[in-house]
Amino acid sequence: MEDTAIIDLYWKRDEQAIVETDLKYGKYCHTVAYNVLNDIEDSRECVNDTWLRAWNSMPPKRPSVLRAFLAKITRNLAFDRYRARGAAKRGSGTMEAVLDELAECADLSGNWDAEEAYLATELKEAINRFAEQLPERECDLFVRRYFFAEEIPAIARRYQMTENNVTVSLSRIRKKLRKYLKEGEYIE
């Protein structure tokens, strides 16, 4: 079924919308959740939460790209679930590697909590601008790694690059991000 037809079903409050979404994007959303959670059961629950969140958001929302809309919901829900886990249950999957990499761009000394809500919105916009200004290939790598939390070998296969090449490119992107965040005074 076409995305517009599925969205129409949501707007008509037809529960068939969820069945159709699951048929078309169930696997995809499961992969997105699994990248973050590294657990099949948790990922399945996360996908179910995604359908519920989509049901609640449409209407009033009418996403232009349903696939990306669902991916974003899944990814954010999966990360909430990841954070809610105890440190012991987090394991040592891709997510830990991604966070380690991002720690290079984060500023541990910054007083983040005081203005958290405001800064979070600001930061989201800043990162969005940063991603937009990146060259096409770098933007793709950035999104695959830090939005979808994909493993480096998987990214290398996708773009027919060597793993080393991907690692080096990501390192350069992180340097750029750090510089960008410093210039925007998000970090010291």
Partner: protein
């Protein structure tokens, strides 16, 4: 701000950007399904792999050439510099030729004394004459006779030695320390060889041996590709005990090469080259 906050903020990336990235991923995965694209991709891949093959081949060939070059250089240099035998032999020849005139001198004095004794007239004259002039005249006569005798003895000895040398030694002996490896040495000029001329065997000379050993001990090996050797002038054919033939080529710009050591030439001094040329004339 922690890494987790940053990752959370990444979740705010615009859906359009995510969709674009997703689309590009899917299109790159779907691309090979169209026939034309597959052909193009295969062609590009082939070109790439061909390039890689050429690069790999070049690297391997160059490194092999470098290793072979180093090995030949080492062999060449070590072989040529180990000429202590020749030098010792040359030194001993020079010492004996210096010692011989001294012996000849002694013989001449004896001869003079004998002649002195055999000349009773002169002694009686000496006794009879009161003047010292007669005495001096006799002494001068004796001296000159002794000198003449000594000179002729030296000449005879040198001629004898040269004759002995040339009789006992062959052209192969001019190769010095390599003489054991070869049983025959022949030469021919490049022109004669081109005209179907026959090879010649040079006569052994001490000068020839010196010239050859000097040339090879002072010569410097270099890669043939970098040397402007000029035309080949003489070919020297060396036959081993097994009957194998090694060709040594002399070039007009005072270079020497050996066919069994390809890629290397040796630059010798112009003076040495001319001396060797004289040997072959």
């Amino acid at each position: 701000m922690r890494a987790e906050d940053l990752f959370e903020a990444m979740g705010g990336i615009d859906e359009k950007l995510i969709a674009r990235s997703d689309r590009r991923v899917r299109s790159s995965q779907e691309k090979p399904s169209s026939g034309k694209t597959v052909k193009k991709a295969r062609k590009r891949k082939n070109r790439r792999s061909m390039g890689a093959e050429i690069y790999r081949f070049t690297v391997v060939a160059m490194s092999t050439a470098a290793v072979v070059f180093v090995l030949f250089m080492a062999r060449d240099l070590l072989g040529i510099r180990d000429l202590s035998d020749i030098r010792d032999r040359l030194d001993s020849t020079q010492v004996s030729s210096i010692a011989e005139p001294v012996q000849a001198d002694g013989a001449a004095v004896e001869q003079a004394e004998k002649s002195d004794a055999e000349q009773p007239e002169a002694s009686s004259q000496m006794k009879a004459a009161d003047s010292g002039q007669a005495e001096e005249a006799v002494e001068e006569q004796a001296d000159s006779a002794a000198e003449e005798l000594a000179d002729s003895a030296v000449e005879d000895k040198a001629a004898e030695a040269a004759a002995n040398n040339s009789l006992a030694k062959t052209a192969v002996d001019m190769l010095g320390e390599f003489k054991g490896d070869y049983v025959r040495l022949e030469y021919i000029s490049a022109k004669e060889e081109a005209n179907g001329g026959s090879r010649k065997v040079p006569e052994y000379t001490v000068e020839g041996e010196i010239a050859l050993s000097e040339a090879f001990s002072k010569g410097k090996a270099s890669p043939a590709i970098l040397a402007s050797t000029g035309e080949a002038t003489y070919y020297v054919y060396l036959t081993t005990k097994n009957g194998e033939e090694h060709r040594v080529v002399f070039y007009e710009n005072a270079y020497v090469s050996m066919d069994n050591i390809p890629g290397i030439v040796m630059k010798i001094s112009q003076a040495d080259y001319e001396e060797i040329e004289d040997l072959f004339r």
